[in-house]
């Protein structure tokens, strides 16, 4: 019966939404508890926090930088060909043509999607495996709240490291643009760098980095939630990992629009 199927789907949707809401509240409460007593928190959960900062931050640097470098290069190549061929004589605008989209959009979103693929999947798989092998129950029997031990370090690390990774990505992306502009298109390097501050403002930098704080939160929350919900062995872990990546990516892309609109109005 289509009506009954619809009813079951709606019920399932609201149950899932309710679970996610409660998960968020609990994670938020645990995070507040962590940051309000930093000395005690670091004694208890310092080790997983440092491990996550390393995993999410330092170990993500190579893949983020390689992606940013080549994205900056291809952006410069496309822009250069367009400016050269279609708009002859305006290649002095190359700097702003690469920097503006990179700092406002490409840097934050690209980094968000790469971190989703690399870290979101790892978070969901790791926590999901712990859930199906009773390791999360084991944490409870050792008087350790699983969200505090597993969720909070990942959330704090994602939120802290995303702006750092994005800033690095933007610098390397602009460098990639510079390499192509200078070596392939023969544009004067000083002209390239001098053009960037003509259009890119502090507001662009701040809004770009603030977005990534939100994206980091999305990756950690969605991926941890999917991991904790994993059931049914390897298949369940696989499903949780896929959902974590798909939902994090979708939320990042949709929220990017609304965050851009918000910052345009209020920043």
């Amino acid at each position: 019966m289509p009506v009954e199927r619809l009813k079951a789907r709606m019920t399932g949707f609201f149950e899932e939404a309710g679970r996610l809401f409660l998960f968020n509240m609990e994670l938020f409460r645990e995070t507040l508890g962590f940051v309000s007593r930093p000395r005690r928190s670091l004694k208890l959960d310092g080790q997983p926090l440092w491990a996550q900062l390393d995993q999410i931050g330092a170990l993500s640097v190579p893949v983020v930088l390689i992606t940013a470098l080549f994205t900056g290069m291809v952006l410069a190549l496309q822009a250069g060909l367009t400016l050269e061929i279609k708009l002859k004589g305006v290649t002095q605008f190359m700097g702003r043509t690469v920097a503006l989209p990179f700092i406002r959009e490409l840097g934050p979103v690209l980094t968000g999607l790469i971190v989703t693929g690399r870290i979101g999947s790892a978070i969901a798989a790791e926590i999901g495996t712990m859930a199906v092998t009773e390791q999360i129950d084991a944490l409870k029997t050792l008087a350790t709240p699983p969200l505090r031990y597993l969720g909070v370090p990942r959330l704090l690390a994602c939120v802290a490291m995303m702006p750092v990774l994005t800033a690095l990505a933007c610098v390397v992306g602009l460098l990639g643009g510079f390499i192509v502009a200078k070596l392939m298109l023969g544009i004067n390097g000083n002209v390239y760098w001098a053009d960037i501050p003509q259009m890119v403002t502090a507001r662009d930098l701040i809004s770009g980095l603030l977005k990534t704080v939100f994206f980091g939160g999305v990756i950690a929350v969605v991926s941890s939630y999917q991991g904790f919900q994993a059931q049914g062995g390897a298949e369940g872990v696989g499903r949780a990992t896929t959902r974590a990546v798909v939902w994090s990516s979708i939320i990042i892309l949709i929220s990017d629009y609304f965050l851009t609109a918000f910052f345009a109005l209020f920043l």
Binding site: L44, E126, T129, M130, T133, E134, Q135, D137, A138, K140, T141, L142, A143, T144
Partner: protein
């Protein structure tokens, strides 16, 4: 003393526990028998506070289980040690870090003290010199013993064993039974063993009980249980497919 009263637990359409009553006396080892999938592990998880019952209460030393918050709840949790079926060792940590997990969180012991305690607890379960290994490098039996060493690191008052011999050969199973008895003697704690392994049950248990259809069917001292004039108990003890207990 653990007192279980009127525990009901349902998962979706499946009613697993239908009003379980049980007393675990101080210092004894109580063995809970029952078919696979019959709710023994669910009962153990309710006692451990890992699952919330739909109805009914568990009292630990006269206090309602789960009725505490903050540090009192933490103290209550640390009274219990739980040996999981698959050991549930933390894959990302070494054996030594697994064993001292709670000690590192809740005490101020130095690294040398932690190492010494881990070595002592590992010796108690018949292992030595494996602190630096990762759980993935251990056999099933070794993993269970490391799980036990982790569980007893905080000197618990209660040890809950969930199918401690599942997946082990008969000799390893007997070694686990000896281990349970030696820990009982050493720590003087109260134990609940969930199993369908009859040699283990008769070797370790002071009292035995049979969980059937989500209810406690029979409880008796070891020798009385062995000779109990009850078709279900006798069917289970002798492992017969034919009898009043339906094959699940």
């Amino acid at each position: 003393m653990i007192t279980v009263r009127g525990i009901h637990k349902r998962f979706g359409d499946l009613q697993v526990l239908r009003g379980v009553d049980l007393d675990v006396r101080p210092g004894e080892t109580l063995v809970v028998l029952g078919q696979s999938g019959g709710g023994k592990s669910v009962l153990l998880k309710v006692i451990a506070g890992l699952l919330e019952p739909d109805a009914g209460l568990v009292h630990i030393d006269g206090k309602v289980r789960g009725g505490m918050r903050g540090e009192a709840a933490q103290r209550e949790a640390l009274k219990f040690a739980y040996l999981f079926q698959g050991a549930a060792l933390f894959d990302s940590l070494t054996v030594g870090e697994n064993v001292t997990f709670a000690l590192r969180r809740f005490t101020d012991k130095s690294a040398a003290e932690l190492y010494a305690i881990a070595e002592e607890r590992l010796n108690w379960v018949g292992l030595r010199g494996i602190q630096a290994k990762k759980p993935a490098e251990l056999s099933g039996g070794m993993r269970k013993r490391v799980g036990l060493a982790r569980a007893i690191a905080m000197d618990p008052a209660y040890i809950l064993y969930d199918e401690p011999t599942t997946g082990l050969d008969p000799i390893s199973s007997d070694a686990v039974a000896d281990l349970i008895l030696s820990l009982q003697a050493r720590l003087g704690c109260t134990s609940v063993v969930v199993t369908h392994d009859m040699p283990l049950a008769f070797k370790t248990g002071d009292r035995l009980c049979l969980l059937n259809q989500g209810r406690m069917h029979a409880v008796a001292d070891k020798e009385a249980f062995r000779t109990l004039d009850d078709p279900m108990v006798q069917q289970f003890i002798h492992g017969r497919a034919q009898g009043p207990i339906q094959f699940l």
